[in-house]
Amino acid sequence: MTPPPLARPAVIAVAVLYFAAIAAIGAWSARRTRTTRDFYVAGRSIGLVALAISSMAATLSGFAFIGGPGLVYAGGMGAVFLVLPACLTSTMTAWVLARRMRRLADVRDLITVPDAIGARYRSPLAQGLAAVAIVIATVGYMATNVLALGLVIDSIFATGLTAGIWLGTAIVLGYSVAGGMLAGIYTDVLQGALMALASVLVFLYALGSGGGMGGLSRAVLAADPAWLGPWGRMAPLAALSLFFVFGMGALGQPHVVHKFYMIRDPRRLRWYPLLMTLALMVTLLLYFGVGFAVKALVSRGALVPLARPDDATPTFLLHYTPVLLSALVFSGVAAAIMSTVNSFMNIAAAAVTHDLPVALGRRMPHELRWGRISTVVLAVLAAGVAQLSGTLVALLGIFGWGLFASTLVPSLAIGLSWPGATRAGAVASIATGLVLTLSLETAAFFHRLTLPAGVTVSGLALVASLLVFLGVSWLGRRDAAAGLDPDIAVIVEG
């Protein structure tokens, strides 16, 4: 991704302003971060708007601005199925998890997602397995995002990729280590607002470039009608599988559901789904709009076919938007990546310094200090992976969403709503998710396994872990409810 040459001074100016604002938020948050609870759950002090916008920013990485539009350009409507469940995932997550997790935080003083699993099942083993899954997935996610951040910084400041990776890591580390989740939340709010604004404006320009939706559709239908078919270039089952994995999988994304612990007044959760859904849908306008507009412009002959699908957004910005908006989008991409990396740093550090020691029957002294140290170590590890091995980044990157979904959705989302869920069911489902996702994704990556169209490893692992959870719990359901702690039973019952 390279910014248009004429836009370069404006891109640099907006990026410098943006990084200065991030630094100011980091400094402000650092003075307010004194305890472990401040560091990991922002002192349970955030409001509704901050919760919704920061959750949106953490959910959507730079993929929504670069990879996503490229996927739409190349694959048509089928690529929409990755984000189509956004219309219901926020409300579903709120019904299943929001109030229960916030009440768990009150009664047990919890700070991590594996904490909730450990408390629900009285199982350090389940908590430890969940932490292992989180560490594996987050290091992979962070490596891919840090690599993307390095590319963006290189494209703006011409630093070179290696320097871009380490500069980007240092910036995110700076505010994450100093201000913990408090800095993360308020930088996310800035980043989310920037992403939403950029998305709406670019979408309007996308519509304007092709004569509205009708004009864009006619241009594409004349050249490539299959692109605008309901499944795009995918088989129907492949598109529906995406809907399944990205819809149900949303219930198990720890960097998002973890934020339910942080809201100051749980009664404000009433409006969380409305705000979060609106924020997601507005910010995803660019995802579809740019891919659609560029496809129409290429179909009409107004643009030459793209060499790489990922060029869709930069090409559109170069030809069809004002310089300042182009600059805003480049900062928006950096914002999207940084907000996601920050959330991953926080939950991975918590898994290492809090959940794994608890699973082993001991607690770390000076958790805040060790939290900061492990944040640095994990970020350096991710940046090192990003710099050293493209293959390893690609392999680790594909674990992310599917590993979270297959390991956390059954034990966390279903388990917190069903008193009959058992410890054995939770352990078996997390282990199933871990083993299937890691082994099958690795085999598929190295071409040892080829699945037919419509079947994905993440879909297989998710359905298997859910069935294992329900089946094993069903076998022991009679004793399960009686084995719940009274405070947990009240929460699980709703």
């Binding site: 409507m77 929409v80 189509l84 956004a86 219309c87 219901l88 926020s90 409300t91 579903m92 709120a94 019904w95 299943v96 998890l97 509205g212 939706m213 009708g214 559709s217 006619r218 239908l221 004349a222 009608p225 605008l228 078919g229 309901p230 088989a235 129907p236 089952l237 529906l240 599988s241 809907f243 399944f244 819809g247 149900m248 219930l251 959760l269 009433r270 409006w271 789904p273 409305l274 859904t277 849908m281 579809f288 989302a413 279903i414 709503s417 069903w418 009959g420 699945l451 037919p452 169209a453 419509g454 079947v455 879909g459 359905v463 859910l466 069935l467 329900l470 009240v490 019952e493 709703g494």
Partner: protein, 131 residues
Amino acid sequence: MTGSRRGTALGAMTASLVVIAGVYLIVIVAGAAPLWAPAAFVLALATLFVATMVLGAGRAGRGLGRLVWPFTFVWLILAAGFGAVLLLRPAAPADPTLWLGLPPRAAVILYGIGILPALVLPLAYALTFDE
């Protein structure tokens, strides 16, 4: 949430997952999806999402109350929307009919499945929050 309602939600969830797993296995064994597979997958998806919401929204000793309506609406939107997409004929490139600027099947996906639940579910959540 009453025990029978929770049992129904869990039963529906399990049945949906069995269908999804079955479709995957058949596709793996046969090497391609049979004609009925997408339709079965659609019904399983709609049921799975609504069963998950029913399980999550349930409160001790209570039925679903007014939430029956938004949940039914979402099941119908997902099942009928995806079902219509499977049944409708493709638009003719020469003289395309457009619904709000998109071919009918793409419009059902984007405006129907992608937007209508977003207009209903968050409000249903907010309006029943205290119940």
